[in-house]
Symmetry: C2
Subunit: 111 residues, 2 copies
DNA sequence: TTCATATTTCTATATTTATAGATATATAGG
DNA sequence: CCTATATATCTATAAATATAGAAATATGAA
């Protein structure tokens, strides 16, 4: 139901978070499943499982190229998650944080 | 180890995400555990479990006030998560999205 | 067609996480 | 001190998620 929830769930796992970061850095050309698996040091079965999870959340896409399946990060999807978090979970008050940290509401905390 | 990972895990659950959003909207004054439970329609045991999870991730804090325990959202912590996602998971390209969506990289996928 | 490669799917198992009742702790008021 | 309220902790169980080997599928090359 909630798309942000499934995106959060997909990223809330070490191997998947690393895989996603790797794909973001790889850009639009993406990377074959085997390459990602090798970089992260996991077996093909486990890699496939986690890539499927990320796909189900819409955070990555894939295309076949020869024998390989190339995965690519969805910048739109992570952008939408950021929008949600900024607007619904920080009331917009943290929206400028990355570009202008000094003026952020987030320096002072309520604890 | 990774603080972002535990924050993501804490938010990746419906009851907890709703509880956190409720606390963000409540602001600095916060809300008693029972109030949050009533709003979300969950029992006290389950509420306590999820509030403990959010606390462990540093996303909320608490103080006792009479018989109640008042929980408050940590704007600093959600801000730090946003920073991480923007910088490490979107390469900064989605950082201005909330304030200036038109110029975002995220409109077209795969920047 | 046969073989090797890349990846997924199937299956079983282990681990983690969530739910909920009973009980315990802390506080406030009579 | 006794009682009610607010919440947490303990315990058991259920449900979801992760790991990993074996087998299946798809492709490309000899």
């Amino acid at each position: 139901m909630n798309e942000a929830l499934s995106a959060l769930g997909a990223l809330a796992q070490e191997t998947r978070l690393e895989a996603f970061r790797t794909l973001i850095r790889a850009g639009q050309s993406g990377l074959p499943a085997g390459d990602i698996a090798q970089r992260l040091g996991v077996g093909p079965t486990v890699m496939s499982f986690h890539l499927t999870e990320l796909s189900r959340a819409g955070l990555i896409g894939s295309r076949r190229e020869g024998r390989s399946i190339i995965y690519t990060a969805s910048f739109a999807r992570i952008g939408a998650l950021l929008d949600y978090l900024i607007e619904d979970c920080c009331l917009g008050a943290c929206g400028t944080r990355a570009t202008n940290p000094k003026e952020s509401c987030c320096e002072a905390d309520a604890r």
